[in-house]
């Protein structure tokens, strides 16, 4: 009986419809992330070394036995170059909101073909991008802020309602990423009981540092604080999920629920997350990881909240 009730509640939740603004912002941010990461590789000829077969211009054997690149003739400079240009083209089309889900699907398939060529030379950002593109295939994300919208309505924006469930899945995806990465930080340098020196030592690793990071030794307590914040923030992600539940059931009674909604725990998690990602970008070179992650942030708030925040910003910038 309880299972049936839960199932009905789920079906009802997934029936929710809302404006497409958040999905559109998610699409634009993610598509631009895909475009810029490939454009930078292409400009520096990194693809010729990492994604092309050994003997042609690559450093290791890249011989896909199936899939698009195999079908196009293998990982040659020409084929890989064409697929990169194609992916950048469709990513730009996705950002502009041309072609709806089909464009996102093509971008996704092209990107999968590229990032699976050499799994040694990649990172979690590839997965953040492909996961996002799949979610955007599931969603009518070009209902607003898009060329599609302009062609259909004569306006760049529209109040047309779209299903909210894909935005929920995007939130679940990024929270899963944060939580499960936190659960795996079992090192004595991360966990309570140790000296919270993980970030200090990670900053010293030459693989990821953007520049020399020995200066952190002089602000070591600050790095310990940042380590503890990062660990607790990631491990306590279920509280973020709880904050969403409390917001969804705001009309129900309960002191904890009321406190969560009054303090807006969800926004605090978002602020800490933004500080975390901006710090990572400033001090470490981990590719487009932070930008891909922050693209998901567009889904953390409802379109109504985004609209009213935007109205407040406009009122301040352009006084009536």
């Amino acid at each position: 009986m309880m299972v049936l009730r839960a199932w009905k509640a789920l079906v009802t939740l997934l029936d929710t419809r809302e404006a497409a603004t958040c999905l559109a912002l998610f699409r634009i941010a993610m598509a631009l992330t895909v475009f810029t990461t490939l454009f930078e590789m292409w400009m520096r000829d990194v693809h010729l070394m990492t994604w092309v077969d050994m003997g042609l211009s690559g450093y290791r054997p890249i011989r896909p036995r199936a899939g698009l690149i195999h079908w196009m003739g293998g990982a040659t400079p020409d084929v890989v170059g064409r697929v990169i240009v194609g992916t950048m083209f469709f990513a730009l089309a996705s950002a502009a909101g041309i072609g709806g889900r089909v464009t996102n699907f093509i971008t996704l398939q092209l990107l999968i073909a590229l990032v699976t060529l050499n799994t040694h030379a990649g990172g979690s950002y590839d997965e953040l991008m492909t996961n996002a593109l799949w979610l955007l295939v599931l969603a009518p994300s070009t209902k607003t802020l898009s060329v599609d919208c302009y062609l259909q309505t004569g306006q760049w924006t529209s109040d047309a309602k779209v299903p909210a469930w894909v935005r929920y899945l995007a939130v679940f995806q990024i929270l899963t990423c944060y939580w499960t990465t936190g659960l795996q930080k079992l090192s004595v340098y991360w966990t309570p009981g140790g000296d919270f020196s993980a970030l200090y030592y990670i900053f010293q690793q030459p693989s990821w540092q953007r520049f020399d990071m020995e200066w952190v030794a002089y602000v070591y307590p600050l790095s310990q604080f940042a380590t503890a914040m990062t660990w607790f923030w990631e491990v306590l992600i279920p509280l973020w999920v709880l904050a969403y539940y409390f917001r969804y059931t705001a009309d129900s009674p309960g002191r904890v629920r009321a406190w969560f909604n009054r303090v807006d725990v969800r926004s605090w998690f978002v602020v800490i997350g933004l500080v975390f990602h901006l710090s990572v970008t400033a001090f470490m070179n981990v590719g487009p990881f932070s930008f891909a992650s922050m693209a998901y942030f567009a889904c953390f708030f409802t379109p109504d909240e985004v609209h009213s925040a935007w109205a407040r910003v406009r009122a301040r910038v352009v006084p009536a």
Partner: protein, 221 residues
């Protein structure tokens, strides 16, 4: 069609969402992944973690030796990976075709004994450094070696089980060196392995010294 939209589609959509959530959560759930190599466990960073955890367990009254702890963890992790593999198998096409892989093992522990790639060439019998990781003065091929995708690869190649690919990388570098340094007769790749200095050591200016490993010399002429 209207009936499908109102009654069947919401149910199908809910089934899809539940399957999707299960698929991604099952794959994202913590697993040792690439850590399932007993040889990698001998790395000083990993040994340091085991020693610290053994100490922690001893401190709370669990009487266990480091070797025992490693054996128990190996047995548990091996079994867990078998079960995990079976659970994930039906979802593999979903991961592979639609890019829904989940692997969030990011910075699970700081590498206390990191390695820096060094590339040298030999001219007139003298070795000369041309690339040292993160050295802005010695950045031959830095436009590719310092890119985030190659940073990820170079981090991996410092581990012993990537040795064959590391050698392929050295051969690739030799090919570039033949063009850029026509008078050189040898190229040498090696990793400088050292212990990261503690905050106190940095402040005192007493840097720990390291050793070179994974030497690979390629003839250019």
């Amino acid at each position: 069609m209207e009936n499908f939209q109102k009654t069947i589609w919401p149910q199908l959509r809910a089934v899809f969402v539940v399957v999707h959530l299960f698929a991604i959560f099952a794959m994202a759930f913590p697993a040792p992944g690439g850590g399932m190599r007993r040889s990698s466990w001998r790395n000083p960073t990993v040994q340091g973690e085991f020693a610290a955890w053994t100490g922690r367990l001893n401190a709370v009254g669990v009487d266990i030796e480091q070797g025992e702890l490693e054996d128990h963890l190996w047995t548990f992790a091996s079994g867990y990976m078998v079960v995990r593999g079976k659970v994930l198998t039906p979802f593999k096409p979903y991961y592979n075709r639609l890019g829904t892989w989940q692997s969030w093992r990011m910075f699970v522990a700081p590498h206390r004994f990191p390695s820096k790639l060094n590339v040298d060439i030999r001219r007139d019998g003298e070795w000369q450094a041309v690339y040292v990781m993160r050295d802005p003065q010695l950045d031959w091929q830095g436009h590719v070696l310092d890119h985030d995708r190659m940073r990820s690869a170079l981090f991996r190649y410092a581990w012993g089980h990537y040795r064959p690919t590391y050698y392929q990388l050295c051969d690739w570098l030799a090919k570039q060196a033949r063009v850029d340094f026509p008078t050189a007769d040898r190229l040498r790749c090696r990793y400088y392995n050292y212990q990261s200095p503690s905050p106190q050591q940095v402040r005192d200016g007493t840097q720990p010294t390291g050793t070179f490993k994974s030497n690979r010399v390629v003839r250019l002429k």
